[in-house]
Symmetry: C2
Subunit: 415 residues, 2 copies
């Protein structure tokens, strides 16, 4: 392995973090935030070199772009992370056994966390600050589109770490080539956790190839079910918010499920969507109801492809169902188990929905747009897990820690 020495250096740096106090960690984070202001011209200059290589029309262009305002917001986020309680050293369980030995289950850092992401240089700062706060070293594998930006960011962080006499391998940026990805995916014994952030292609590639532990993030095929007993005002607001607030995010609405008894309310439920030019792919019943009540140029007949699609665009499908069971079956079949919502005034129906829907986040009369670490009050977010192992839904500091058992006694042996 060409990168083995790099992995060894990061692992060694991660071990040194075990003795770093939370106060010291916060000092470093604040210093990084301060350094961002000083180094803004340099970072923007390097970011410009990346931008010059990308077509203005590329949808990734805006994500790649850094500005003074964005860097200020990033610095503010880092200062905020410094104010959060440390996720380390939390006593998760403590008990004394009959033989007198004392058991303590205590949260600890993973060690080394790898992140694979695409052309979003802000992720480099996010990941560093959350990993560092939680005592983890991190290995960044950013997209090649953001190469100059990421190099500048990591160089800047390295300078701050060195000033604090902290091993700079605490954060390591890998080369942008494919071989580096392959080595990272197989860094068994060196990397304790890998988090891919990006398109479903990237996630699938990681799932198929990684031999180190992975937390899958991302893909959100989200439904909102407007129940027989749904409130029309709440439903209208929730549907519009979940669909149009930001279409490029994973918690955005993809399919509205409507009870057949409420078909006549569809025109009202969908009305605000006009304003955002949302294209609706309606099944036969919904199409009938909307054809004279929704702009013709924005209305199409649904096909099988209209369901189970993450649109990430001003597009939405509508499915009509006869009862709750049918709604649950539709969700079961097409959901990516990210965020699912029911609009109903019936508490029993809401409870059944919450119990039977298998998803990270199940909403009752609330927009799915809230699936987000900050909105959940977690203080930060490193990604949204769509798997069930270790973490589910928004992941913040606690979710990037592990634990160990400490057993203390005075000579206990087992019979």
């Amino acid at each position: 392995m060409k990168l083995e020495n790099t992995f060894i250096a990061v692992q060694s740096a991660s071990r040194k973090l075990r003795t770093l106090s939370n106060d010291r960690i916060n000092e470093v984070l604040n210093a990084v935030a301060a350094e961002i202001s000083i180094e803004t011209p340099y970072i923007l200059r390097e970011n410009e070199r990346d931008l010059e290589r990308m077509e203005l029309t590329n949808p990734k262009y805006d994500r790649l772009r850094l500005t003074t305002e964005r860097l200020e917001a990033i610095a503010a986020d880092i200062r905020n992370v410094a104010t959060l309680p440390s996720p380390l050293g939390r006593v998760l369980m403590q008990r004394e056994q009959p033989n007198g030995m004392k058991l303590t289950k205590v949260s600890v850092a993973f060690g080394v966390i790898g992140i694979i992401y695409e052309a979003r240089p802000n992720v480099s700062f996010d990941v560093f600050s959350l990993c560092f706060k939680s005592g983890n070293a991190c290995i960044l594998k950013g997209g090649s589109d953001a190469e100059f930006s990421n190099l500048a960011i990591v160089r800047m962080i390295h300078r701050v770490l060195e000033r604090f006499n902290i091993d700079k391998h605490t954060v390591e940026l890998l080369p942008t080539n494919r071989e580096a990805t392959t080595e990272l995916l197989h860094a068994v014994g060196y990397v304790d956790l890998l988090i891919p952030r990006g398109s479903s292609n990237l996630i699938n590639f990681v799932r198929e190839n990684a031999t180190i532990p992975v937390i899958e993030t991302g893909a959100g095929i989200c439904h909102t079910y407007f129940d027989k007993e749904g409130d029309i005002e709440k439903g209208t607001k929730i549907i519009n918010n979940a669909k149009t607030r930001r279409v490029s995010v994973c918690n955005a609405l993809d399919c509205l499920i409507v009870h057949k008894d409420r078909l006549s309310d569809l025109p009202k439920l969908c009305k605000p969507l006009h304003n955002s030019n949302v294209v609706i792919y309606a099944d036969a019943d919904a199409y009938e109801m909307l054809k004279n009540n929704y702009p013709a140029e924005l209305l199409e007949k649904a096909t099988e492809d209209s369901f189970g699609t993450e649109f990430l665009d001003y597009k939405m499908s509508i499915k009509t169902i006869n009862d709750l069971d049918e709604a649950l079956n539709h969700i079961q079949k097409y959901s990516s188990k990210h965020s699912e919502c029911i609009v109903t005034e019936n508490q029993d129906t809401a409870n059944t929905f919450c119990q039977l829907v298998d998803a990270a986040c199940v909403y009752v009369n609330v927009s799915t747009a809230f699936t987000d670490g900050a909105q959940f009050g977690l203080g930060a977010e490193i990604g949204i897990s769509t798997q069930k192992l270790h973490a589910r839904g928004p992941m913040a500091l606690e979710e990037i820690t592990s634990y160990k058992w400490i057993i203390e006694g005075d000579g206990q042996t087992r019979s």
Copy 2:
């Protein structure tokens, strides 16, 4: 995929478990325990067919063998699982956000858990009872050596499930061929978690090939460090217990690390090991000290291979070090991060050891033989995780649950 229909059937069964009450689950478990007594002759007869195919000298023979007593113990274990609190529906966090929406993080079943294991038919009962208690369906992939035993066990459980009108696909036994293993390892979307239980070859194979989430279990390369300030009585008891209580288990001692200032205590520390004919692979300093104080036929000079080996036998290496740092480095280099122990009367040294040793279980003056779900008071054990993701150390019922977020409100949207 030949097994796709099987996976679909298990997934469907797992969904039906979501509405099963804990009382009903316990009734079924007790009925399975009762059925074991009734069906003992049948199970033993089928087990005999497996035993007949295996050489008596095969080390697996004893693990494969069931007896009336062993079946009684298994039934008692299942009854015990029925008495444990349900791991489902635990409120892990609850908060109301300023906008009035209520967040509840609640424990839920994974859904479908797959287990790959070797010729130990008792595992079939263990896994079924723990998965069923925690609301999970399970897919068993047992070793071919135990084929008849496992078939008999699963048929018996199926009869009980049918009596309770529960989908028998709640527990499914896969064919013993390799293709079934391959399909299980790639059952993305059908199997939520895979736990391999067995040799390190099996674990490595699963790690290299699985595309579904895995919890690694098993391999234990365990050290006990006898510190400069270690108590000789405690050390002697702990070393003997950790090495000789049961050599075939993963928490057994593999390497004794001794501080050079305490070399003269080695003969005393090792004395009880004579009785079990423990072969010692001693480094140069330890060899000098033991050569006139330990049976010559049981003493050998250590080679590089003597360290980092899981002996699973009456064998142990000894490493002499000059200070705590050297002990920590030795552990870091050779440990499998399972169970590590220090014997010391110095609380500061103990604290440093607990903080810096990266292992699931870190012991102070207690034998590593306690790394076990029941000994930790967890009530049961489905395996001992050696990874840091999701669960670390002994895994019981809580460790085979996931969680979901439930968000309730009255029309909240995100600005």
